[in-house]
């Protein structure tokens, strides 16, 4: 792991929608080849942070650098170039419902490369084999299970071999076995392909299985309340919110 060179640098980012500020003055870095997990309770702004990192929403203030290029101030051509460097898996998979899995993966390859059709076909099938779906290439998204849809979405995000993959809640709505298999897949892809992962999740089991480093967001401070190795945070953090999260203690008000 190359600690010296961050692939993502978030600087003084304030995020929100219209007048509502959800996150205030966020700073952190993600290094090449690590699995970086953004965690926190429901409604603390995890998904908002992710959407701002991938430039789906303009930040209220601050900037996001991906591989050294500023995504927030880039013009359209530059943005497209930077965006080719990462892939995104959305919470629901967001596969195109009218296309087969193979066509879903082929799409980016067809649009962005000059490869001959049989090469595109082979690469798309290789991506689907990587996630264990090579026997479902001709299926439509609504013909396969939720876990498979998420794996197919990862295959689609990897079509152009991006160096960074953003995953929004990969284990949401999955059973523990499927969720563990997805965690193992993330680990394997990180080891073999050297992909940097930025994962949003609140599943404790998942966090301990995959995370090299985490940041924890909190609603009350609108910022990061902890950063580091999840095992170390669980055992040594003196922040009550962090201990509460890792020990699954309910809020007294909620209980």
């Amino acid at each position: 792991m190359d600690r010296s060179e961050p692939v993502i640098r978030v600087e003084n980012l304030s995020a929100g929608y219209d007048e509502t500020v959800i996150l205030h003055d966020i700073n952190f870095e993600v290094y090449a080849g690590e699995v970086f997990v953004i965690l926190g309770g429901s409604g603390c702004g995890k998904s908002t942070l992710l959407k701002h990192m991938i430039s789906l929403h303009p930040p209220l203030a601050g900037r996001v650098l991906i591989n050294g290029s500023d995504l927030t101030s880039a013009d359209d051509d530059e943005r497209r170039r930077i965006m080719r460097g990462f892939g995104v898996m959305y919470q629901s998979g967001a596969l195109f419902g009218s296309m087969t899995l193979l066509e879903n993966v082929r799409l980016a390859l067809e649009e962005y490369t000059e490869l001959p059709p049989q090469a595109i076909d082979l690469i798309a099938r290789m991506k689907l084999e990587l996630v264990g779906l090579d026997q479902f290439t001709g299926h439509l998204p609504n013909e396969i299970s939720g876990g498979m849809q998420k794996r197919a979405a990862i295959a689609r995000a990897m079509a152009l071999d991006p160096g960074i993959l953003f995953l929004d809640e990969p284990s949401a709505g999955l059973d523990p076995i499927t969720s563990a298999a997805l965690d193992a897949l993330i680990r394997r892809l990180q080891k073999t392909l050297g992909v940097t992962f930025v994962v949003v999740t609140h599943e404790l089991a998942s966090i301990f299985a995959i995370a090299d480093r985490v940041i924890m967001l909190d609603k009350s401070t609108q910022g990061i309340i902890a950063e580091g190795d999840p095992h170390v945070l669980r055992d040594t953090s003196d922040n009550p919110r962090v201990r509460q999260f890792f020990n699954r203690q309910p809020d007294l008000a909620a209980a």
Binding site: G97, S98, L115, P116, M126, T137, G138, D161, T192, L193
Partner: protein
């Protein structure tokens, strides 16, 4: 950039030496050359020497695998891969990737397609008949037991169907009356018969154009909205949620919409007739026919029977538009395009039904001499 060098060794081997960066942007240039090198000399065993490759991503691995899996008598092997690339390469089994394991089914023969379409049509008709039955039962129940109707929904839908629809119906009807009067007044003036334009406008608006134009506008506006709204609810499993709560989707979603359309359609038609005649009267002013004369002429030409003949149709049209819209919504399939399909089908089949039923009315009125 990537480079490819082809050498034949004295022992009968062909060596393809790859070097540089193998990625999606560099390999298209050498994909065909590399394959040609294999098919040119099918009897020679080939070694792909990847020793000079500095960088290799998924696309590069795809090239290697495609070369190894190339169908030819002599074998192809890969040598000198760097350990990092070796790891990537070993993840895949070239034999397994040779063919698509789940190819898309080929298009069925025409006969089979026709058969399937016929079965679909049969099911469609069956569904429509049972839907009509359910709607009739639900409406009968609503009449017997008015408290079971969700009146709050009815008023909300009335507002959207009726009040919100007024501007477009006013505009179209006004222009219709205006244009109809103008087009007929010009030739009739040559015979000094422009006063009879008032009869024409009055009769056609009351008996035919008022009800039909309002119905067609409502089919486009309201029928499509019902189909899209219920279709989206269906896709979001809201209709399933109603069913599992023991609530009948027809009573809950369809009945209020049909009642609201039944209440609004006659009012909108009256409004349309009135505005259409206002348009006609305005045109006639410019042909020196004063408003009083126009009204008197309409009054003498249009009988209460004519009015009832047009008015009765509006109730039938209302049931058709709302019913078809709701039916198409409930039939919505899964997927992003399904809601759009439902809305389209609601409008198209709604308008076809309107025209057909209007024709039936015309024949019945003719036979009954109304």
């Amino acid at each position: 950039m990537a480079a490819l060098a082809i050498n034949d060794t004295p022992d009968g081997r062909r060596v393809l030496a790859l070097s540089g960066r193998l990625d999606a942007s560099s390999i298209p240039a050498l994909w065909d050359d590399a394959h040609r090198a294999l098919s040119d000399a099918p009897e020679r065993p080939v070694t792909v020497d990847a020793g000079g490759v500095d960088y290799c991503d998924g696309a590069g691995i795809a090239l290697l695998i495609d070369l190894v899996a190339h169908p030819r008598p002599a074998p192809v092997d890969v040598a000198n891969l760097k350990p990092a690339h070796e790891v990537l390469y070993r993840q895949f089994d070239p034999a397994r990737l040779e063919h698509d394991l789940d190819p898309e089914p080929k298009r069925a023969p025409v006969i089979e397609e026709i058969g399937r379409a016929s079965i679909r049509l049969g099911r469609d008709i069956r569904g429509q008949v049972s839907f009509i039955g359910e709607v009739v039962a639900a409406l009968a129940n609503a009449i017997v037991n008015p408290a079971s109707v969700r009146w709050r929904d009815v008023w909300r839908i009335c507002e959207r169907v009726g009040a919100d629809g007024l501007p477009i119906i006013a505009l179209i009807s006004f222009l219709l009356g205006l244009i109809l009067a103008f087009q007929s007044a010009v030739p009739m003036k040559r015979f000094g018969a422009e006063i009879f334009v008032a009869d024409l406008i009055g009769l056609s608006m009351v008996r035919e154009l008022g009800p039909l134009m309002t119905a067609i506008l409502l089919a486009g506006r309201t029928g499509a909205a019902f189909a899209a709204e219920i279709g989206t609810m269906h896709v979001n499993q809201e209709v399933d949620a109603l069913t599992t709560m023991g609530l009948d989707p027809v009573r809950f979603l369809v009945t209020p919409r049909i009642i609201a359309t039944l209440l609004m359609m006659p009012l909108l038609t009256l409004f349309s007739i009135l505005v259409g005649m206002a348009g006609g009267a305005l045109t006639m002013q410019s042909f020196a026919v004063p408003l009083v004369t126009f009204l008197k002429e309409v009054d003498s030409a249009v009988t209460p029977t004519d009015f009832m003949a047009g008015f009765v149709k509006t109730f039938v049209f209302a049931i058709l538009i709302a019913g078809v819209g709701c039916l198409r919504g409930l039939e919505t399939a899964a997927g992003a395009s399904a809601v759009g399909d439902s809305a389209t089908r609601a409008v198209v089949s709604g308008i076809i039904l309107l025209v057909v039923v209007d024709g039936i009315f015309a024949v019945v009125y003719f036979v009954l001499d109304i």
